[in-house]
Amino acid sequence: MAAHAEVAGAAVARAVPAVSTAVPGAWWVGLGLGAALLLALLAAAMSGAVAVQWSDWAALAQAERSGGALVLWELRLPRALFAAAVGAALGLAGALAQGLFRNPLADPGLLGVTAGAVCAVALVLTFFATVAAGLPPAWRPWVLPLAAFGGALAVCFVLDGVARWLMPGSIAGLLLTGLALNALAGAVVGLSVYVADDEQLRSLTFWTLGSLAGASWPVVGLLGLALAIGLWQGARLAKALNALALGESAAAHVGVDVQRLRTRLIVSVALLAALAVAWSGLIGFIGLMAPHLVRGVVGADHRAVLPLSALAGALLLLLADTVARTVVIPAELPVGIVTALIGAPVFMLLLRRMALRQGGHA
């Protein structure tokens, strides 16, 4: 089948339109978001119960650190970077999940993916606490993230199975399944609470409310690694995700290996959602809001939506966490409460928009 580039060239009598297949403006939006994120990091590092001076930044480089520099290095910077990394992971996971299920309402939180992770963690914290305690000390930090990943992965595969025999693109069945999974996870967590002792109860409560107080440099590093893997996968899968928006059959017809794509997406979503949750508990709605805001500005091309959703998610959660840390000084609110307060109305607005568009697809 030889290429005949000019077969039809002469025959097109109609005016050929000027077409650009690049993503217009996405680079500028990315630069803007990046700059805003840097400013927000700076603001987050400067604000809190203990005052930090500009001179403390310079003291970071010196051997003998001032008190303010210690606060920056030990508390504020890991906390701010942790918030940004968790937000980026949630935003990217949301964008990937929405591409996978071909629906803007598919959020890892609403679908029960994060609940699956929390459920697995609750089981490990209570019923299998003795097993976990028996492990070599070097393994222990990995137990909760691994359990979270397993729980998230299991939920993703259940959802994918459900999505296959439901109407393609139908979100109602997916959300109902997510509702059931959330209820199931709630029951398991409740059961764990029932049998937990005092100390276990405290960690469980922290988990279900969502807090970024568990920040530390190793955790930030690990999350950064997971994020890099997620972004790399996203860059590789963006074109195929665009094709998947046409529907599964049409995607296969233009050459996408749909089954492989789905498996990769599921593992990526589970990895990102689980790691985001593993040290911070349930933080909802970032995965829903970030891609939605991004699509509103740059359109639906996944080559732009995936990286920009990560940036927007980072910015959103960092701002939410800074608010959570500073409104009731010296105490702090669980950040999950702040994101839910903003996110739930956004979700309802989205629902209304989709209802207005009637088809239920877009």
Binding site: A8, R102, A245, A300, G359
Partner: protein, 282 residues
């Protein structure tokens, strides 16, 4: 329904005879499809490059299933399907994307994507694709969709969406020869003027490249005027492989359980459809 169609005169059909001598473009050898509770086939069919086939049959007869079998979307439970001399089963998807394209019946696209992005997806399997921008633009023009550039797909009307999907499929097979174009009744919901316009665009596009065209068609007049062969599908089997023309009318009437009346001469004609008289009601 009443206006006579005059597509044949407008379409150059040169490559058909030359290609017919070679191996068939598509061959179904006793291929069957099994879905829970039902079996379709066995289908034995041969199709040469450049041929234009209309698949006709009542609802639920298995037309879409036959099309999916030819597209490689459903694999044969027994028998085999061959495309351009190679078994369809197990061919790399990217390779298949250069040999056959499918225009779907449903148009829904998630997320309100831009028109040119969707058309560009037809070129997904081609890497690198230096001609992409030019081909996307020309495919849009050929599908009468040039004016839709820059619009969001989910803001388009049904007819406009059909044009964009057509442009996507055209872009996919734009620079190959003798490929297979499968069409799943995409025109049924459009107004008659647009139906003629788009069917003409499709047949003209296919003829220039020697692509074979297989389309599920509901309109008997369209089938008779725009195609070289008629495949009649009934109860999951191929009930007939006919030349279009006046002689095909009794079989078509039987297939749909209606009364058909030929109006006009061999070039300019229309077929009027009526409810079957009481004798046929059983």
């Amino acid at each position: 329904m009443n206006a006579p169609y005059d597509l044949t005169a407008a379409v150059a059909r040169a490559p058909a005879e030359a290609a017919a001598a070679e191996a068939p473009l598509l061959e179904l050898r006793a291929a069957t499809v099994r879905v829970p509770g039902r079996e379709f086939g066995p289908f034995d069919l041969r199709l040469a490059a450049g041929e234009r086939v209309a698949i006709l049959g009542p609802s639920g007869a298995g037309k879409s299933t036959l099309l999916k079998l030819m597209a490689g979307e459903r694999s044969a439970a027994a028998g085999s399907v061959w495309l351009a001399g190679a078994a369809l089963n197990g061919q790399p998807l990217a390779r298949m994307a250069r040999r056959r394209a499918v225009l779907p019946q449903a148009h829904a696209v998630a997320f309100g994507m831009a028109v040119e992005l969707i058309v560009g997806l037809g070129r997904y399997a081609i890497e690198p694709d230096a001609q992409r921008t030019r081909i996307v633009a020309e495919a849009l023009a050929t599908a009468h969709a040039a004016h839709l550039v820059g619009r969001r797909f989910d803001t388009l009307s049904g007819g406009e969406q059909a044009r964009v999907q057509l442009a996507r499929v055209m872009a996919q097979l734009w620079d190959v020869q003798g490929a297979l174009l499968l069409v799943d009744e995409p025109l049924a919901a459009l107004d008659p003027g647009l139906q003629i316009e788009l069917l003409e665009a499709i047949t003209d596009y296919a003829a220039r490249r020697g692509h074979a065209l297989v389309a599920i068609v509901h309109d008997i007049n369209q089938a008779l005027a725009g195609f070289d062969r008629l495949w009649l599908v009934q109860d999951g089997r191929l009930a007939g492989d006919l030349k279009p023309g006046r002689a095909a009318l009794p079989r078509l009437a039987e297939l749909f359980g209606v009364e058909l009346q030929w109006v006009g001469d061999a070039q300019h004609f229309a077929v009027a459809v009526r409810r079957r008289s009481t004798a046929g009601a059983a």
